[in-house]
C-alpha cells in the first residue's frame, strides 16, 4: 500500500494507546473508533460527520434552489419544500457548523494549550457519538407519516403543532444534539481552565482558544434553554399544556422569546470560533503578531455578553411594546462596536505585514471581506423601523448566509487548510486550494448577493414559488448555488489526498509565520501530544 495512514507511524509508540488501523481487521478498527477517547480521533470523527452533514444539507439547498430557479412549482410539493428548508437549516446549524467547530477544538485546543487530551475523554466520545444518532433520528422524519418537520428551523408554534409523527422525533433529536453540545462545551471549558501548561496564563492563550472558551460558555448557557423550549412544544402537543395557546393564557410569542434567547447566542456560537480562526491565520501569513490581542479578547467577551440581551431583534414584527423595541434596537446596534473592533484589528494586523497568500490566508481574507458585508446588512437590520421592511424577506436570508457561509464555513475551510499538514503530515495541493478559493469566492457572491435585491424588492423568505418580477435574480442565485456546490468536490478531493498521505511531507512548523505550541511538535502530531506540560518559548504565545 503506497498510502500510509498518518497515524500509522505511531503505532509502535505505545501498545495500549497506539491507534488501530483497518489493516488490523475490521472489528478492532471499528472498536477503535467507537470507543476512542483520543481527542485527535474524535476531532477527525467530528469533522467527517460535519462534512457529511454539510453535504446532505447542501443537497437540500440544491433542491430549494432548483425549485426557485423559475416561478411556478416545477419539482417539489410546497409541503416538501417546507420540509427541505427546515431540515436544511437544522442540519447545517446543528449537524454542520457546530460539530465542525467542536471538531477543530478537539484537535487544536489540547495542542494549543499544551495538554495531553481533553479533560474528560470519555465524555468527549459520548458527545460525538450522540450526533450520528440524533441526526439519524432527525433525517428519519422524512420517512414518517406526515413528513419531516416543515415549520422552519425556528419551529414557531402554532405551525409546528401541525407537524405529524415527526414532532416528537424532532424534539428528541434536538434534545440529543443539545446533550452533545453541552457535554462538548463543558469539556472544552474545563480543558481550557484546568489543563493549560503551567507556563500559559489565560491572557496569553491563542485567540482560537479564547473564542472557544467564550463559545463554550454560551453553549452551556443556552442549549438547555432550547431544550426547555422544545419540551414545551412537546407537552403542548401531547399533554395538553397551553404555553403557546392564548386560550389557556399562553402566548405563541412566548416560544419566540425563549427560542431566540437561545437563538441569538447560538448565532455567535457559530461565529466566535471563526473569529478565533481568522485571528490565528492572518498573523501567521502577515508574519506579524495579532494587533490588539487583549482588545480582541474583550471584544469577543462583550459580543458574548450582548448576545444575551438582543434576542428580540429577531422578532421585531410580533408586536412588542415600543419601549422593548427601542431597547433591543439600541442593544443590537451596540454589537457593531466590538465587531468593528475585530475587523479593524484584523486590518491593522495585515497593515505593514509581510504577506503571502496561501489558501488558508485567502479564505481568511475572504472571510474578513464577506463577513463584513454580512455585518453591514446586520447593522441595517438592527434598525427596527427599517427591519419592518427587511424582516422575513430575502434580505435576511442574504444577511445570515453571508455570515454563515463565507463567514463560518469559510473559516472552517481556512482552518482545515491551515492545520491539515499538522494533522496528516503532508501538504495539501496548493494549486487546487487556490482554485477552490477563487471558485468559491466568486460563486458564493453570485449565489447570495442577488438575494439582497430580492429582499429589498419585497420577496418573502421560505416560499417555494414567487411573483414573476423576482425571476431574474432567483435564476442568478440558483446558478451560483449549483456552481458553488460543485466546486466543493475539489476541496473534498484535496483533503482525501492529504488523509491518504499523498503529497509533499510537511515540516513541523509548516508555515513560516505560524506561532503557537502546535507548531513545535512534529507533523503529523504525535497521537498523544503533550503528555507532560511543555516548557513554552514566549514567542509561541500571544
Amino acid at each position: 500500500m503506497s498510502t500510509v495512514n498518518p497515524t500509522d507511524t505511531h503505532h509502535h509508540d505505545d501498545h495500549h494507546h497506539g491507534p488501530v488501523t483497518l489493516a488490523d481487521g475490521v472489528w478492532p478498527w471499528m472498536k477503535r473508533w467507537i470507543g476512542t477517547t483520543n481527542h485527535k480521533d474524535l476531532g477527525t470523527l467530528y469533522l467527517i460527520f460535519s462534512f457529511t452533514m454539510l453535504f446532505i444539507g447542501g443537497l437540500m439547498s440544491l433542491v430549494i434552489r432548483a425549485e426557485l430557479f423559475a416561478p411556478g412549482i416545477q419539482f417539489v410539493d410546497p409541503a416538501f419544500y417546507n420540509e427541505m428548508i427546515t431540515l436544511h437549516a437544522l442540519v447545517m446549524i446543528f449537524g454542520g457548523v457546530m460539530p465542525a467547530f467542536v471538531g477543530l477544538a478537539n484537535w487544536m485546543v489540547p495542542m494549543m494549550i499544551g495538554c495531553s487530551d481533553l479533560a474528560l475523554p470519555r465524555v468527549n466520545n459520548w458527545g460525538f457519538w450522540i450526533l450520528p444518532f440524533a441526526f439519524t433520528m432527525l433525517l428519519g422524519t422524512l420517512l414518517v407519516p406526515g413528513g419531516a418537520p416543515a415549520s422552519g428551523w425556528t419551529m414557531y408554534p402554532p405551525l409546528v403543532m401541525q407537524t405529524g409523527a415527526a414532532l416528537p422525533l424532532m424534539v428528541f433529536a434536538l434534545h440529543l444534539a443539545g446533550i452533545s453540545s453541552i457535554t462538548g462545551a463543558i469539556n472544552i471549558v474545563v480543558t481550557i481552565l484546568n489543563m493549560r501548561a503551567p507556563d500559559m496564563p489565560l491572557l496569553k492563550m491563542p485567540l482560537f482558544v479564547w473564542t472557544w472558551l467564550i463559545t463554550a460558555y454560551l453553549l452551556i448557557a443556552v442549549m438547555p434553554v432550547l431544550a426547555g423550549a422544545v419540551t414545551m412544544i412537546l407537552t403542548d402537543h401531547f399533554f395538553g399544556t397551553t404555553f403557546f395557546d392564548a386560550a389557556g393564557g399562553g402566548d405563541p410569542v412566548l416560544f419566540q422569546h425563549i427560542f431566540w434567547f437561545f437563538g441569538h447566542p447560538e448565532v455567535y456560537i457559530m461565529i466566535l470560533p471563526a473569529f478565533g480562526i481568522v485571528s490565528t491565520i492572518i498573523p501567521a501569513f502577515a508574519r506579524k503578531p495579532l494587533f490588539g490581542h487583549d482588545s480582541m479578547v474583550y471584544a469577543v467577551a462583550s459580543i458574548a455578553f450582548l448576545s444575551f440581551i438582543v434576542w428580540a431583534h429577531h422578532m421585531f414584527t410580533v408586536g412588542m411594546p415600543v419601549s422593548a423595541e427601542l431597547f433591543f434596537m439600541f442593544a443590537t446596534m451596540l454589537i457593531a462596536v466590538p465587531t468593528g473592533v475585530k475587523v479593524f484589528n484584523w486590518v491593522a494586523t495585515m497593515w505593514r505585514g509581510s504577506m503571502t497568500f496561501e489558501t488558508p490566508m485567502l479564505f481568511a481574507l475572504g472571510f474578513v471581506v464577506l463577513f463584513t458585508i454580512g455585518g453591514f446588512s446586520g447593522l441595517m437590520l438592527a434598525l427596527t423601523p427599517v427591519d419592518f421592511q427587511y424582516h422575513d424577506s430575502y434580505f435576511v436570508v442574504a444577511h445570515f448566509h453571508y455570515v454563515l457561509v463565507p463567514g463560518a464555513i469559510f473559516s472552517i475551510i481556512a482552518a482545515i487548510y491551515y492545520w491539515i499538514p499538522k494533522w496528516t503530515g503532508v501538504m495539501y495541493n496548493e494549486k487546487l486550494g487556490q482554485f477552490h478559493f477563487w471558485w468559491s469566492a466568486v460563486w458564493i457572491n453570485v449565489l447570495f448577493f442577488p438575494q439582497h435585491f430580492l429582499g429589498l424588492a419585497g420577496m418573502p423568505r421560505r416560499i417555494p414559488d414567487y411573483a414573476v418580477q423576482f425571476t431574474d435574480f432567483n435564476m442568478v442565485s440558483s446558478v451560483g448555488a449549483f456552481m458553488f456546490f460543485i466546486g466543493q468536490f475539489v476541496f473534498i478531493y484535496n483533503m482525501i489526498m492529504c488523509m491518504r498521505g499523498s503529497g509533499t511531507k510537511a515540516t513541523g512548523r509548516v508555515w513560516e509565520g505560524a506561532r503557537g505550541l502546535e507548531w513545535t511538535v512534529a507533523s503529523p502530531a504525535p497521537y498523544h501530544t503533550f503528555e507532560t506540560p511543555p516548557k513554552i518559548d514566549p514567542r509561541e504565545m500571544a
Binding site: 389557556g248 425563549i258 434567547f261
Partner: protein, 292 residues
C-alpha cells in the same frame, strides 16, 4: 499542592471505552421508542422505551463504576479532581438555565401575556375583540378557561412542609459532609441516610400533592397556563429530586463501603452540590409558584 502534583503527574487519559457509545445507543432506543409511543403506537413502543430507560441506567451505572474503580485505583490526582469539580459546576449551571426557560415562561405569561389578554397596554383590542370581558388574574387558565375551574395548592400546607423537609435535608447533608471531613463515619452515614430519607419523604408528599391537585382541586397539567407552568416546573424539579435522592443513596452505599476519605471525596461533594442546587430551585418554586 497544585505545584507538587502537576510537576510529575501525568494527566490520566482513560482507555477506549465502549460505555459512552452504548449509552448513546440506549438513549436513542429510549427516545426513538418514546416518540413512537407518543405518536400512539402502544403495542410495543412503551416496553421498548422502558427497556431503553433500563439500558440507559445500566450504562450510566457501568460507566460510573469504571470511574469509581479508577479513583479507588489511585489514578486521579489533583488536576483530575479539579476537572470533575469544574465539570460538575458547569453542569449545574446548565441545569439552572434549563429551569430558567420554565421560570421565564412563568414570568412572561404572568407579567406580560396575562395583562395583554386583559387588554392592558398596547394589546387593548386583544381583549375587546377576541376575549371580551376576560379579566384574568393569576392563577389563570386563560380566557378559554382551559381545563375548567381549579383551585391552587395551598402554599402553607404541603409545600411549606416540603420546604422545611428540603431545607432540613440541606442541613443534614452538610452535617454529613462535616462528618466526612472529621473522619466520623457515624456522622457521615447518619447524615446521609437522613438526607435520603428526607428526599424520599419530600417525593412522597409531592406525589400526594399531585394526587390532591388532580382529584380534589381540579388542577391538572391541562389547566391552562397555570397548570402548565405549575406541573412542568414542579415536575422537572421532582425529577431532579428523584435523581438527587438516587445519587445520594448510591453515595450512602459507597460511604458504607468506605469509599471516601476526609481529603478525597469529590463524588460526595458533587452530589451534595447537586442537592443544594435542587434545594435552591425549590425555594424559587416555593416563592414564585406557590406563594406569589
Amino acid at each position: 499542592m497544585a505545584t507538587e502534583t502537576s510537576e510529575h503527574h501525568k494527566y490520566y487519559v482513560p482507555e477506549p471505552s465502549p460505555w459512552p457509545f452504548m449509552l448513546t445507543v440506549s438513549l436513542f432506543f429510549m427516545l426513538g421508542s418514546g416518540a413512537f409511543w407518543l405518536n400512539g403506537s402502544t403495542t410495543v413502543a412503551p416496553y421498548l422505551a422502558a427497556l431503553g430507560l433500563a439500558m440507559t441506567l445500566v450504562m450510566v451505572f457501568i460507566w460510573f463504576r469504571d470511574v469509581v474503580n479508577e479513583n479507588l485505583g489511585g489514578v486521579y490526582g489533583h488536576q483530575e479532581d479539579m476537572t470533575y469539580r469544574w465539570a460538575m459546576g458547569w453542569f449545574i449551571f446548565s441545569e439552572v438555565m434549563f429551569f430558567g426557560a420554565f421560570f421565564g415562561a412563568l414570568f412572561y405569561t404572568r407579567m406580560i401575556a396575562l395583562p395583554w389578554l386583559n387588554g392592558e397596554g398596547e394589546k387593548f383590542f386583544t381583549n375587546l375583540y377576541l376575549w371580551p370581558e376576560f379579566e384574568g388574574a393569576w392563577p389563570s387558565n386563560g380566557p378559554g378557561n382551559v381545563g375548567g375551574d381549579f383551585e391552587t395548592v395551598n402554599a402553607w400546607h404541603l409545600p411549606l412542609l416540603n420546604t422545611v423537609l428540603l431545607l432540613t435535608s440541606s442541613v443534614t447533608v452538610t452535617w454529613a459532609h462535616w462528618g466526612l471531613k472529621e473522619d466520623s463515619r457515624w456522622k457521615l452515614c447518619t447524615g446521609l441516610a437522613a438526607t435520603v430519607l428526607l428526599g424520599a419523604v419530600f417525593l412522597y408528599y409531592q406525589g400526594l400533592e399531585y394526587v390532591e391537585a388532580y382529584q380534589h382541586l381540579g388542577l391538572t397539567l391541562g389547566s391552562g397556563i397555570y397548570g402548565s407552568t405549575f406541573f412542568l416546573l414542579t415536575g422537572f424539579h421532582g425529577m431532579h429530586v428523584t435523581l438527587g435522592t438516587l445519587m445520594l443513596f448510591i453515595i450512602l452505599l459507597r460511604c458504607l463501603k468506605g469509599h471516601f476519605s476526609s481529603h478525597d471525596h469529590f463524588g460526595f461533594e458533587a452530589v451534595a452540590w447537586y442537592w443544594h442546587f435542587v434545594d435552591v430551585v425549590w425555594l424559587g418554586l416555593f416563592i414564585f409558584v406557590y406563594i406569589l
